[in-house]
């Protein structure tokens, strides 16, 4: 048998089992990414269904939206944080304790601010920023 064929046979012996070993984890990884993507889409649809028309416009254009509480205080809800607009330099770190897409977290922040600002302030970690 020519040397080239020996090389091909040896390569096949190594490559084929290696490829089989990799296919499972790669497929699981792809499925996981797809599930997370679907979850993000569902959470975003839910968020949009609960936003006011003005908030919806802001979110679609800029990725954040503003909330006015019953006390008249204005906040901006970002992905990953909340900033008070009428008191300069006040920001709040508040997050879901269970793993949820970011849009679910933003929706929870909006509703808590609009219905129970005091509870929001008691829950969130406040920090100053410039």
């Amino acid at each position: 048998m020519p040397v080239v064929l020996w090389w091909w046979a040896a390569a096949a012996v190594v490559v084929v089992p290696l490829a089989r070993l990799l296919v499972g984890p790669l497929r699981r990884s792809r499925d996981g990414l797809s599930r997370r993507h679907q979850a993000r889409l569902r959470a975003e649809a839910l968020l949009l269904a609960w936003l006011s028309p003005g908030q919806r416009r802001q979110y679609r254009a800029r990725g954040w939206f503003e909330v006015t509480t019953t006390a008249g205080h204005r906040y901006r809800v970002y992905r990953g944080g909340v900033v008070r607009l009428d008191v300069r330099g006040s920001a709040y770190c508040i997050e879901a304790v269970s793993p949820v897409p970011i849009a679910d977290e933003m929706l929870a922040n909006k509703l808590l601010l609009e219905t129970d600002e005091r509870r929001f302030l008691a829950t969130a970690h406040r920090f100053r920023y410039r």
Partner: protein
């Protein structure tokens, strides 16, 4: 009267429905309330376009409050 409860979870939104003509489905939603309350999660009902109000099992009216959300529990980061 039919309604939906949206549960914010790792899947983004798990929706469960009830029909007041079928008491078993209403009891299932009552169980969702109890589980949410035990986990410290707040439940909201949609009151208008972009507005919501907190609702508990004691105040929930399945005939009128037909769009609910179980929000994730929040904590300071």
């Amino acid at each position: 009267m039919t309604g939906n409860v949206h549960i914010a979870d790792a899947q983004g939104d798990t929706t469960r429905s009830w029909d007041t003509a079928d008491p078993a489905t209403v009891r299932e939603i009552e169980e969702v309330f109890r589980e949410a309350q035990a986990a410290g999660r707040l439940v909201y009902r949609q009151t208008g376009d972009g507005t919501g109000e907190q609702v508990t099992l004691a105040t929930w009216n399945p005939e009128e409050h037909t769009e609910l959300l179980v929000a994730p529990r929040l904590a300071g980061g």
